[in-house]
């Protein structure tokens, strides 16, 4: 075998084969779905609609409104809720996590409260959220915010708390004062864990979004999913589920790209 077989072309081929494999698995999945519904008729359409019915529903609802708005409207409203909820949660969780990691007194004051609130599932807040914020944007933002808040807070806190002490010592013996250490060492060193926390948080936030929209909303993808169930239109529920799945995938891809950009300096496990 020539050396060329192990060159870039070889890697490229592997990559291409991987893409082909992934693509065929998705197509295969849809084909099986098609097989058991349309071709073999194993499951009645009332329980599981065929793929072409679902795709037609997606296409149709782009133009014909469901409830108050078309599909784009529902996607848009869900997106708005998750964006506002996530933004507010990050603005609170990251500074609080940094302060808790840095000031031991604040850590002692806050940790017991957080450890009690953290295990409560975000959806358990729905009744209170509706009571406090009504059934508008406020209650959804609150629920999503709770979902995003805790993982981000905990990761930020850990990121600050577990910075390699040798880096702090190095900075101090080079003349850095406490505030310089915080700005120049602690913050950059904890970025990888903070980003990982945001990623977990947004995943949880998406779940909270759907749950909140299922209970108290007249728009959004969660509402669509619920409406499909209420009206015996499973294709509508599946439409909402697929779109949520795609939204989650895109959000995750975006965060991974951001992560690659901001933690350019991290290679495997190394400490400088």
């Amino acid at each position: 075998m020539s050396m060329k077989a192990f060159g870039p072309q070889f890697l490229e081929r592997i990559y291409r084969e991987k893409v082909v494999l992934s693509l065929s698995s998705v197509l295969g999945f849809i084909f099986c779905w098609y097989l058991i519904t349309d071709v073999l008729g194993l499951i009645p359409a009332l329980f599981l609609p065929s793929p072409e019915k679902v795709f037609f529903t997606i296409y149709e609802k782009i133009f014909i409104p469901v409830g108050q708005s078309t599909l784009f409207g529902h996607v848009g409203v869900s997106l708005l809720r998750i964006l506002v909820g996530t933004t507010i949660a990050l603005c609170l969780a990251i500074p609080l996590g940094i302060l808790m990691g840095w000031y031991e007194d604040l850590d002692s004051v806050m940790t017991p409260i957080i450890e009690v609130l953290r295990p409560i599932p975000p959806i358990a807040w729905i009744p209170l959220a509706i009571l406090w914020f009504g059934i508008g944007l406020g209650s959804k933002v609150f629920i999503i915010g709770i979902g995003v808040f805790f993982p981000t807070l905990i990761n930020t806190y850990m990121g600050v708390k577990f910075v390699d002490p040798i880096l702090i010592k190095a900075a101090q013996t080079l003349g850095a004062k406490d505030k310089d250490v915080l700005r120049e060492v602690i913050l950059p060193a904890s970025v990888p864990l903070i980003v990982a926390g945001i990623r977990i948080g947004i995943g949880l936030g998406m779940m909270c979004l759907v749950a909140a929209e299922m209970v108290a909303a007249s728009s959004g993808l969660g509402f669509l999913i619920m409406l499909g169930g209420d009206n015996l239109k499973p294709e509508l529920s599946i439409t909402g589920m697929i779109l949520i799945g795609i939204m989650g995938l895109l959000a995750d891809t975006l965060i991974l790209a951001v992560e690659k950009k901001v933690v350019y300096w991290k290679k495997e496990s190394q400490n400088g």
Binding site: D164, K169, A170, T173, L174, G175, W265, N271, G272
Partner: protein
């Protein structure tokens, strides 16, 4: 009489391990003169790193005091730069930014900083790597950056904690030669920790043998002052280790350390 650069006065240091306080350094007294290269060598876990951290101000002694230029050391300071065994470079900063780190806190203007950083990157032979990140460098190169970072910050004392301990034997020899050369070019006081007897004799004006924990000073040898190995700093590593004087001294020192290891059963 000239004032000591560093004076450790009956210093004892303890550290916490598994809720138990262990004595790492036991009643040690030492004075170091300006421009001296002092090497502390001893069996592993003998408290030599703890002692060096005390000089750096990173650890407080439980008894005794440490002075620099007659002033008591109470915390870390840029006057006492440290080179760590684990390099301790800031991984998100380039080589240039790492070397520049301390200069910003000295209020040195940007243009001047750039000149200083360039000078010391040249000194450690890393021209062309200014924009590399630490993860792109080999272990030896990382430690060169750490050495440049400390030298550039103009400390009065350089504290080096087994700086070549994590490097392979070949890289280590080259680093020892280069450090010896840097020491002659940039006369600064150096305190160097190692567990290599060869390294200690090759580099040290004065070599201090520590006992096993709790660490005390077992013997101090004035390699330079007593002219034990003449003309050493002008010779390469290979030439020095093959001198009879070097081998004799090595045998003596190794005997002392081996006795500690066997006697206290830190095998």
């Amino acid at each position: 009489m000239q004032q000591d650069k560093i004076f450790a006065d009956h210093v004892s240091v303890a550290y916490e391990k598994d809720d138990e306080s262990l004595l790492a350094v036991d009643d040690v007294t030492l004075s170091i003169q300006e421009g001296e290269f002092v090497v502390i060598v001893g069996p592993s876990g003998c408290g030599k790193t703890t002692f060096m951290n005390t000089l750096a101000g990173l650890v407080k002694p439980i008894r005794g005091k440490v002075f620099m230029d007659g002033k008591q050391i109470t915390g870390p300071s840029a006057e006492r730069g440290v080179v760590f065994q684990q390099f301790a470079l800031f991984p998100w900063k380039t080589v240039f930014e790492n070397v520049e780190f301390g200069l910003k806190y000295r209020g040195i203007p940007k243009d001047e900083r750039r000149e200083i950083v360039r000078k010391y990157i040249r000194m450690v032979k890393l021209e062309g790597f200014e924009n590399s990140f630490p993860h792109e460098l080999s272990g030896g190169m990382k430690q060169r950056v750490a050495i440049a970072r400390v030298y550039a910050n103009m400390p009065q004392i350089l504290l080096m904690d087994e700086p070549f301990g994590a490097l392979d034997a070949q890289t280590r020899t080259i680093m020892q030669e280069d450090l010896s050369e840097m020491f002659m070019m940039e006369k600064r006081t150096v305190v160097f920790i190692t567990h290599s007897v060869d390294e200690a004799i090759y580099l040290g004006d004065r070599v201090i043998i520590m006992t096993a924990r709790p660490g005390k000073f077992k013997k101090i040898i004035n390699v330079t002052a007593d002219c034990l190995i003449p003309n050493r700093r002008n010779l390469g590593y290979d030439d020095v280790v093959n001198l009879k004087a070097f081998r004799d001294l090595k045998r003596e020192l190794w005997g002392l350390i081996k006795a500690e290891i066997v006697e206290k059963r830190i095998l």
